[in-house]
Amino acid sequence: MASSKTDLLQGTLDLLILRTLALAPNHGLGISRRIQQITKGTFDVKPGSLFPALHRLEEKGWLDAEWGESENNRKAKYYKLTRAGQRRLAQETREWERVALAIARALEAT
């Protein structure tokens, strides 16, 4: 659990979800845990933000959803990245890097 609650912008959440799914398809809880994991605990995404984001990404055609079996043999809805989603991920990553670089420069400037 994160020590301080860090707010997530919608675009950032999208990026994290896309990144998470780039490696392998996953279901809702799995995605949340994975984001926690790869951000070393900084972001703990609650279902109230996660589900709307997942559905929006699906509606936009960047994710595909399919019902499958989870680890303990329960039914779960699995999301995976589509080709359009891959392109979106690449696009957003570039954008993020551009912005991060710009802000870093701004903070260093005298």
Binding site: P47, P52, R74
Partner: protein
């Protein structure tokens, strides 16, 4: 419709999925905690808490889904608008076509809404009914009611909250500029039936009117117009029919029942009237008690009529009763015609939609690449269809708004043109309801014309269409679709044109029907004798005689006569009569095998002797009426041929005597002649039995004047008036018209529908022709390469022409065949309007098919000519 069902199914499906997804999440979280060592119940509780409320999560998802959908929709509209703006020619043609389709539909809908759909403007209009007597013998269902019957109905019936009788006449208001107004005499509960209270003052007292009562109620219109809208009018005296009446109330604005009435007087039943059960002249309206249905009231009234039939067999045996919703009765005549017009405009709309569908199909070819790219980018099939339909909807909105404008502009002209008899004309207007219908129509038409192109276009496989040269395979299916659409257009136009053709032919036939009299050069006028002045029969007879003398003396007048009713001048009065010989068995049951019943009825006309000459009605047997046939002498009468045939089949009625049930002391009249039939009720109504009785022997308060003149009858109007005033200077002379004018209004109805149908059919033809033209033109463009090769190889231009035109003709012939089959079925709906022409009249069918064939050929000709001008070199390079 498919899509709507599909979507609803998906929504339910999506809801279930969402619920399952959230449930699965909670389960997994619970499992996680249990695995970490927590107790199951505790784990579950904590999991639910972390979820943060199941409904909130689901609601958030729903919002998001809706938000995305809306965003897409807006983007689609914006994109669609941009695309349409980029091809203004296409957009203009499509919008115009849709406007031509929707405009007529909206105009007709205004009529349908105002007349049929809107309920009457009175409180609880569904409880208002009209009552008639029915003639069990000749099946007439709209016989008026006699005062004693009405009184009995009123006393015995339990189904009604209020029941009232009325009769329309007109009176002259004097004391100022003399003005004739429509008047109605009404029983006390009249205004209660309509649930309308006067805006000032009171209505008539609840007790039945006594003779000599002189109260009057004014309409709002006349109160403003003639009496300056003064508040003090209540209590004042005004002169109605030369007698002072006290104004006791003013009705609110817009209340006019019956139509055209401005003044209401109390209905006074003279004591003598109460014995005459056959003197049927009252209209009856009523308001049902709450919870009583029309059927229940009908059952009760039929029983009462049967009771009266047993109680008073000589008069009531042949009469039943009918209760019908007031609204239904008012619009009954017009309903089938409006239905027909609605179908006609639906056809026009369909043809317009088919045109636009064709245009869209053609356009879709150019959009292949664009759609393919979108598809590759991840747009699902539904999404693509949504995009294309949004574009179509924009076109529909444009067409619809333009159509509303067209309808609005033409509504005035339509109202002018419409026959006077059209009920509730005042409620026909373009208002919010019609506008709402317009928007609904926009959605509907989008689906109709947009579905096929959108479905086809979205069914692409992206990879295929990005390749070149695949047009052949996709093209075949699309060409077939276009051909089907063209055939549909031709068939629809054919049906519409045939319908219009039949009605127009009927119109022609109607106008040339011999009405049984000569209507040329006859001037008419109405004379209402003031009841106060002319009470005795003798005074009326004297007046009539003097009048005829003066009128005949006018230079240029061939003959002059008076009659209670002129041809086509409105409903006649029907009276029962007894034939001498019926009296033999007054109480015994009538013998059915004799083929006749004890009581018969016929229309009655009181006329002066010259009437037959004036109207050139032939005397077929016996003699006409003579000046010697006056009161005091032998009572005589004439019957028309229909009456003779009906009641004395195979016998000669001349010499027989009959007694008409009218007046206080009906006498036995001898039939002295048979005259030719006259179509009194309308040119399309077959003649009914009628009797002619000398005006000198029975009396009436209302005469019509008929003058046969040499030369233009209208020029004798002033001379006629002066002749009347020379006998009585206060006698108002009203409704001076030539007989031709009177007849003209009778065909007004058929003319109205004929004109409208003709306009719609022409519109349909133009649209269909244009549709065919555009399809042919496109087809030629498609085959430019092929045509170029043929020309280059030396094919004669004629052969190329045949190629193109032949294609069009093939489609036309199929379309015409389908259309004829359709028309043979569909013409049953115009049957009511037809006159003198069968509904499968071969001449009309053939003529219309011919016209359509010519139109198709013309539509093919231009593209065909263009095809022959193709430069082979250019064509070969053509893609």
């Amino acid at each position: 419709m498919f899509r709507r069902v599909f979507k609803r199914f998906r929504r339910g499906h999506a809801e279930r999925e969402l619920d399952a997804e959230v449930r699965a999440y909670v389960d997994q979280l619970t499992e996680e905690k249990v695995a970490a060592g927590m107790g199951r119940d505790q784990a579950r509780r904590e999991a639910l808490m972390e979820l943060g409320g199941r409904e909130q999560v689901k609601e958030a998802v729903r919002d998001v889904r809706f938000g995305v959908w809306l965003e897409n929709l807006v983007k689609d509209f914006a994109y669609g608008a941009r695309l349409l703006a980029r091809s203004p020619g296409f957009t203009a043609v499509a919008v115009l076509t849709l406007a031509l389709g929707m405009g007529p539909s909206l105009a007709i809908f205004s009529f349908v809404d105002g007349i049929l759909l809107r309920s009457l403007p009175y409180p609880e209009p569904e409880r208002m009914v009209q009552l008639f007597q029915t003639s069990l013998k000749d099946g007439r269902e709209d016989v008026p009611v006699s005062p004693p019957n009405f009184v009995d109905w009123h006393e015995r019936a339990q189904s009604f909250e209020s029941l009232a009788a009325f009769a329309s006449t007109s009176e002259v208001l004097t004391g100022g500029e003399p003005e004739r107004v429509g008047t109605a005499v009404v029983t006390p509960k009249f205004f209660e039936v309509f649930g309308t209270r006067p805006v000032m003052g009171n209505t008539f007292e609840l007790s039945p009117a006594k003779p000599g009562q002189t109260e009057v109620i004014l309409s709002y219109g006349i109160w403003q117009r003639r009496f300056g809208g003064r508040k003090e009018i209540v209590g004042e005296n005004i002169l109605v029919g030369a007698r002072p009446h006290t104004v006791i109330g003013v009705m609110p604005r817009g209340f006019v029942y019956p139509a055209g009435i401005e003044v209401w007087l109390p209905l006074v039943f003279e004591p003598g009237e109460m014995k005459e059960r056959n003197s049927a002249y009252l209209d009856v309206v009523g308001r049902l008690k709450a919870g009583v249905s029309v059927d229940q009231a009908q059952a009760e009234l039929s029983t009462i009529a049967a009771q009266l039939g047993l109680q008073y067999p000589e008069s009531n045996r042949q009469f039943g009763a009918r209760v019908v919703s007031l609204h239904d009765e008012m619009v009954r005549g017009v309903r089938p015609a409006l239905g027909m017009l609605s179908s006609a405009v639906a056809f026009v709309l369909l043809i317009a939609c088919v045109n636009v569908a064709n245009l869209l199909l053609v356009r879709a070819v150019g959009r292949e690449r664009d759609l393919a790219i979108r598809s590759a980018l991840g747009a699902g099939r539904t999404r693509l269809m949504q995009q294309l339909l949004s574009e179509g909807f924009l076109l529909a909105v444009g067409g619809g708004l333009l159509g509303l404008l067209v309808a609005w502009l033409s509504l005035d002209a339509l109202r002018q043109l419409s026959p006077v008899a059209l009920p509730r004309l005042e409620s026909v207007k373009l208002d919010a309801r019609v506008t709402a219908f317009a928007f609904a129509l926009m959605g509907l038409t989008t689906l109709i014309f947009g579905m096929a192109p959108a479905w086809q276009a979205a069914g692409f496989h992206a990879s295929e269409s990005l390749k070149e040269g695949t047009r052949a395979t996709c093209g075949a299916a699309r060409t077939r679709l276009r051909s089907v659409l063209v055939v549909t257009e031709i068939a629809l136009s054919l049906v519409l044109l045939i319908g219009a053709g039949l009605v127009l032919r009927s119109l022609w036939s109607l106008l040339s029907t011999h009405p049984g009299f000569d209507s040329r050069n006859i001037l008419t006028a109405d004379l209402y004798l003031a009841r106060g002045k002319f009470r005795e029969h003798a005074s009326k007879a004297q007046f009539a005689e003097a009048l005829v003398e003066r009128l005949s003396a006018i230079p240029g007048v061939e003959t002059a006569s008076l009659a209670t009713h002129l041809p086509l001048g409105g409903t006649t009065m029907v009276y029962g009569f007894l034939v001498e010989g019926d009296m033999e068995a007054p109480t015994k049951e009538w013998a059915p095998d004799r083929g006749s019943e004890p009581l018969r009825s016929a229309g009655l006309r009181l006329v002066t002797p010259q009437y037959l000459h004036t109207l050139r009605i032939p005397v077929l047997r016996g003699r006409g009426l003579l000046t010697q046939d006056v009161s005091g002498r032998r009572d005589v009468m004439l019957v028309n041929q229909t009456m003779a045939r009906k009641y004395w089949p195979g016998e000669d009625p001349i010499g027989k005597r009959i007694r008409i049930a009218r007046g206080r002391t009906p006498a036995w009249c001898e039939i002295v002649g048979i005259v030719g039939d006259v179509r009194h009720d309308g040119l399309h109504v077959p003649p009914v039995p009628e009797m002619y009785v000398p005006l000198a022997q029975q009396s009436a308060h209302l005469f019509r004047v008929a003058l046969r003149t040499t030369g233009n009858p209208a020029s004798f109007a002033q001379a006629m008036r002066e002749a009347v005033w020379s006998v009585d200077k206060d006698q108002p002379v009203t409704r001076v018209r030539t007989l031709q004018e009177v007849i003209g209004s009778s065909v007004g109805e058929t003319r109205f529908y004929g004109v409208l149908l003709g306009v719609f059919a022409t519109l349909a033809l133009l649209l269909a022709t244009f549709g065919i033209y555009s399809v042919m033109a496109y087809s030629v463009t498609q085959r430019t390469r092929e045509i170029g090769i043929r020309l280059a190889l030396g094919a004669p231009t004629a052969k190329v022409l045949n190629l193109v035109v032949g294609q069009g003709l093939r489609l036309a012939i199929i379309g015409i065949a389908v259309g004829i089959a359709g028309a043979a079925y569909a013409t049953r709906w115009v049957e009511k309007l037809l006159h003198g022409v069968s509904r499968t009249d071969p001449a009309t069918f053939a003529a219309v098919a011919g016209v359509l064939l010519v139109a198709v050929l013309a539509a093919c000709w231009i593209p065909a000519r263009r095809a022959t001008r193709v430069d082979p070199l250019v064509a070969l390079r053509h893609e």
